[in-house]
């Protein structure tokens, strides 16, 4: 089922590459991954055995960009083709929007193709889907090999219903994009039709209106929280994306340039991180109990300790002040002693030192000057 998220402004569809083992489902995905611009695709994830056979699924997210103010995202999955893995194969089909059936065009693989197609039908039935209602595109793969069956011969056995089919060679890339384009078109068509039929309306619905759906609905319903009436555009800082994966989500400002930019008085996510940081700063502030003595000696103590725990400018290490920020980035010790330990006396952590001072104080107080 198509997932439409009005908050993050994205439409998400799930497309599954199905077919017998070694028919080239993962190769299809690999080709798409290699050819599509990196800002369009995400990181490909492959749960495979050591011999590179798919164990659970391969996953490739694709974001074709901003359409009508919504980011259109497609999640491409493959299934493990081997008969043995039917349990996991079925799981991947959950919530599927469109299927690409990758068939092996070689004559001796025909039985496997038919078995896999029947298996697809059964597995879909278990989720309550009908294969005839679901967008299915058939791909006759490995057409570049010698002695393969012709599309007509394959159609006679695998495609009596006349579904759209493409002849392909996934290693070279022929027909891979045609298949993908076809299935995406079918998925969008189906989503469109089901939407309009559900509403029993003749006029097509505009996805983007100046009013957000929430306000539209409010005209009839009682406002639950009047403060949220206008669409909230989150702080850009909150809408972050890590460069570690190349997948680029369109920033909020790209998606809805026309909508008024209203910042929440206290954005929840941002507020949390800020307060957390402040708390940590307070916690990590070195605390010294006043040593019995003059105010000056206390200050000297503090200055000494700060000298011993220098604020390092090295990338990987952190200091007192930046500890909270780098909490999730590094495991390195708080104090950078890589250079200092050679020409200084061994350094103790403040807590230990504090204890020592306290002991001496106690000793003096009991047996000493007084």
């Amino acid at each position: 089922m198509v997932s439409i998220n009005y908050s993050s402004r994205e439409v998400c569809c799930k497309i599954v590459y199905y077919g017998p083992g070694l028919s080239g489902k993962t190769t299809n995905l690999l080709y798409v991954h290699s050819k599509v611009p990196s800002k369009t695709r995400g990181k490909m994830i492959s749960l495979a055995t050591e011999a590179d056979r798919t164990l659970y699924f391969d996953f490739l997210p694709i974001n074709i960009g901003n359409i009508n103010g919504f980011a259109a995202k497609f999640q491409l999955y493959t299934v493990p083709g081997q008969v043995y893995y039917n349990a996991t194969r079925k799981l991947v089909l959950r919530g599927v929007d469109g299927v690409v059936f990758v068939a092996d065009s070689q004559p001796d693989k025909m039985d496997e193709n038919i078995e896999s197609l029947l298996n697809l039908q059964d597995n879909l039935k278990e989720y309550g889907y009908d294969i005839n209602e679901l967008p299915v595109v058939i791909q006759y793969n490995k057409c570049d090999l010698p002695g393969v069956l012709s599309p007509d011969q394959l159609n006679a056995k695998l495609n009596p219903e006349g579904r759209p089919f493409y002849v392909a060679s996934a290693t070279v890339g022929n027909g891979v994009f045609d298949t993908l384009k076809a299935v995406i078109k079918l998925v969008l068509d189906k989503a469109k039709n089901s939407a309009s039929s559900k509403m029993n309306r003749s006029a097509p619905v505009e996805v983007i209106k100046q009013q957000t759906p929430t306000t539209l609905q409010r005209e009839t319903a009682e406002p639950v929280n009047p403060g949220l009436e206008t669409p909230i555009v989150r702080d850009k800082q909150n809408d972050v994306y890590h460069p570690q994966s190349e997948y680029k989500e369109p920033s909020k400002s790209d998606v809805i340039p026309e909508s008024p930019k209203i910042l929440q008085p206290e954005p929840v996510g941002v507020g949390l991180s800020d307060t957390a940081r402040i708390e940590h700063k307070v916690n990590y502030k070195p605390q010294y109990r006043p040593y019995p003595g003059s105010e000056r000696s206390k200050l000297r103590q503090e200055a000494k300790t700060f000298d011993k725990y220098p604020v390092s400018t090295k990338g990987n290490s952190s200091s007192f002040a930046t500890k909270s920020e780098s909490r999730y980035e590094s495991n390195s010790p708080v104090v950078d002693l890589s250079q200092d330990h050679l020409n200084r006396t061994p350094v103790m952590m403040p807590s230990l030192k504090k204890k020592e001072i306290k002991k001496r104080g106690l000793f003096r107080r009991i047996f000493g000057k007084k």
Binding site: M1, V2, S3, I4, N5, Y6, S7, V11, K14, V32, V36, T40, G42, K43, I45, L47, F59, P61, I64, I67, N68, A72, Q75, A87, T88, L91, R94, G95, G128, Y129, G173, F177, L180, K181, K185, L188, K192, A195, M199, P204, V205, V207, T212, P213, T214, Q217, V224, N225, L228, P231, I232, V240, H242, Q244, S245, V268, L272, S273, E329, N331
Partner: protein
């Protein structure tokens, strides 16, 4: 299984976000994701900057689905809570309503007990919201003709050999 599309509106997401961030604060967790069982990310809160949430959502949903199948083999309809323990970071997954999973990622600042407690509370609140969502069937629905047409135009640009 319902054939309805998953449609989420801002109003509901705001409510959900509020509950989740309250939970993160209470349990002192690192971050939390709400994931559809199909592998779509619904929302995220907390320190998710360094995470590839799209992939994470797909994998977590897959993990949950396979656990469900294991449960069935054992004779249990579904395991409602799943916990992965690591050296530093841990993941707690719990079922919310019928079709979503609340994933909490936390480290040694807090304990599993706290996370479980808060996650359970939040799951109850969230499932209430989902129930309401189900009841109030919205008039306006997903994809327009225009959307499909524009998407098809874009496809040709992107998918070139």
């Amino acid at each position: 299984m319902s054939d309805d599309s998953l449609i989420i509106y801002e109003e509901e997401i705001n409510k959900i976000d509020a509950h989740i961030s309250k939970m993160i604060k209470g349990a002192e967790a690192k971050c939390a994701l709400l994931v559809d069982k199909d592998g779509h990310l619904i929302t995220r809160q907390g320190f998710t900057h360094s995470l590839d949430t799209t992939a994470l959502a797909a994998l977590l949903a897959g993990s949950f689905a396979s656990t469900k199948e294991i449960a069935r083999l054992v004779g249990e309809p579904e395991f409602s809570v799943l916990f992965h323990q690591g050296k530093k970071d841990n993941i707690h997954m719990s079922l919310v309503g019928e079709r979503s999973i609340l994933v909490v990622i936390f480290d040694d600042r807090t304990t599993i007990g706290m996370v479980r407690l808060y996650a359970r509370e939040t799951a109850v609140e969230l499932s209430k919201i989902f129930e309401e969502m189900k009841k109030s069937v919205k008039d306006d629905n997903g994809i327009s003709n225009d959307f499909a047409a524009q998407a098809e135009e874009k496809l040709d640009d992107i998918f070139q050999d």
